[in-house]
Symmetry: C2
Subunit: 327 residues, 2 copies
């Protein structure tokens, strides 16, 4: 059976997932037409996933669909934005119905959770590459930026760090997850849950905010560079999952620290806020049923210093992921 | 020398081209923050170009940069939208400084012509793939849609048709362009000029409108399907360039007709308008110094019929380009 480009769009994408009232025209014309609510600014983020680079050849298609959206919603969350619409640029080597069914299910599963509508895109033939652009809103002037951290702020991270890196280590045979931890870790790698609700709740609290995609050191580094400040991180405060705690005996503490600091793919939020907001932050995250850990403090200068609990310097082995470094 | 992802962005993309006042935050944060003017709707279009599919391996990088933007501006033009911002998803096999310089020059050359700002994107490593999303505005309710053609409307096309197809034929050795026609044809293939001004001028005149990217038959077919109407095209009215006229002796009239009807990659506008607007349309295009040709009429039914000047049926060999047809 031959499947045309239009048939692919009709069967797997058009009319699927939430249908929003602010979409004047979605899929099916030369372009989509949309209404941004009055008094709001538009927030847009674009991320590309490439087979063999961002996900393995045998990644479940539903995981690819989920993750392509999740990484973008995570970027919107880091701005404090409410997600609304997505576009999809999908390049496929062949019409693979089973793959498309899985991909579509993963994409629209997460889209449904967050009420976002697919409004357009392009389907082309070529090496498997997925580009999603997410669009959201913030009230005028309310977006959170990387450059707003101030000396004296606390540094926080949501959730736990290093799980995706640990999952990758397990997939590559470098570590064996015990009991239920294997499934948990795989979900953290393949189906990250973007911190959309946390981002919205932090909009009027956070100073600097960023999502942790390339590792805490690299991404907190963006806040420091943009804000013209330094930071001191207490590595023993880094939030570990039960799976990471269970792995620590086998891998050693230092290996776990490295995963938490620089393995990346966490899709947690890192933010700074003044000490006066500590109680409020605790209440917000308690209500969200989301972990949030104070891991350090913003200071003068420009350096990011890691220390043990007793004040001794901790020297990280590497700082984060860069697609073209050393190339 | 190693070139990092951040260095690529800094050197070839950040701060280049027009910088607009409606961009609250462009490149450099988790997402861009933008202001859509009051009383306007947002119009977005996304297109992907893949090496070996949409452009040959040896395509000049400046042509790839130009065309990746042009095809999207053409989609916005077909909605009657004024372009404003673009994002770029660029997947590259390696850090190739010369390629990036050319690509950036081509992209920002056309961006400068139309006053559009690059506001964000993603640079990844993988097979060469370029995804551009263009964002523009229309006054609320003023966008032109495919579904607005009415029985009795005239059918028009801007510019000339089939030149990109003829250029491809020449590149593949199937035809030799004489004199200055070679350069003209190559420019039509590699550096199409999106009909932005025409699209804006037609916003209050056109009924149905579409851009001609897959060939006149396929794209006019979209207007017919969306509007629930048929059309009759007089093939002898199809606008040929001097280069096409010069090729006709060698290729034969029928071959030229086929190129004009279905080779695609024209990036002209096809639109319908009532006969009462003929004078106005003539004045608009005269002022724009842009060719515009009446090629047929909208009728009842759902068929697209092609006829010779004497009324005999013309049967096209194929209807347009589909990435997955026959796969």
């Amino acid at each position: 059976m031959s499947v045309s480009e239009f048939e692919i769009i009709r069967r797997f994408f058009a009319g699927k997932g939430p249908q929003r009232r602010d979409v004047v025209r979605g899929i099916g014309d030369d372009a989509a037409v949309l209404r941004v609510p009055e008094g709001h600014e538009l927030v847009v983020s674009l991320d590309t996933l490439v087979k063999g680079v961002h996900f393995p050849d045998n990644a479940p298609p539903a995981a690819v669909g989920h993750k392509a959206l999740a990484v973008n919603l995570s970027d919107l969350a880091a701005m404090g934005a409410e997600p609304a619409w997505i576009t999809l640029g999908l390049t496929l080597p062949e019409r693979d119905i089973a793959w498309l069914e899985g991909f579509s299910a993963g994409l629209f599963g997460l889209a449904g959770t967050h009420g976002v509508q697919l409004i357009g895109g392009d389907t082309t033939r070529g090496p498997l590459t997925v580009t999603v652009q997410a669009h959201g809103f913030v009230p005028r002037g309310a977006a959170c930026y990387r450059g707003a951290a101030r000396v004296g702020d606390d540094v926080y991270v949501t959730g736990t760090l290093g799980d995706a890196g640990l999952a990758l280590l397990a997939l590559n045979g470098g570590f064996r997850a015990e009991g239920g931890h294997g499934g948990y870790l795989r979900a953290r790698l393949e189906r990250p849950a973007p911190r959309v609700a946390a981002g919205l709740a932090l909009r009027d609290i956070a100073h600097g905010m960023v999502d942790v995609s390339d590792g805490l050191l690299a991404d907190l580094g963006h806040i420091l560079a943009a804000s013209g400040v330094g930071a001191r991180i207490e590595v023993e405060r880094l939030p570990f999952s039960d799976a990471m705690l269970a792995a620590r005996a086998e891998l050693g503490e230092r290996h776990c620290m490295e995963l938490a600091l620089s393995a990346g793919d966490d899709y947690e939020l890192c933010f700074t806020a003044p000490p006066a907001r500590r109680g409020e932050i605790e209440r917000v995250f308690s209500a969200l049923d989301c972990r949030c850990t104070r891991v350090g403090v913003i200071g003068p200068g420009s350096r990011l210093v890691c220390v043990w609990g007793d004040g001794r310097a901790y020297r990280p082995a590497r700082r984060g992921y860069d697609h073209f470094a050393g190339g």
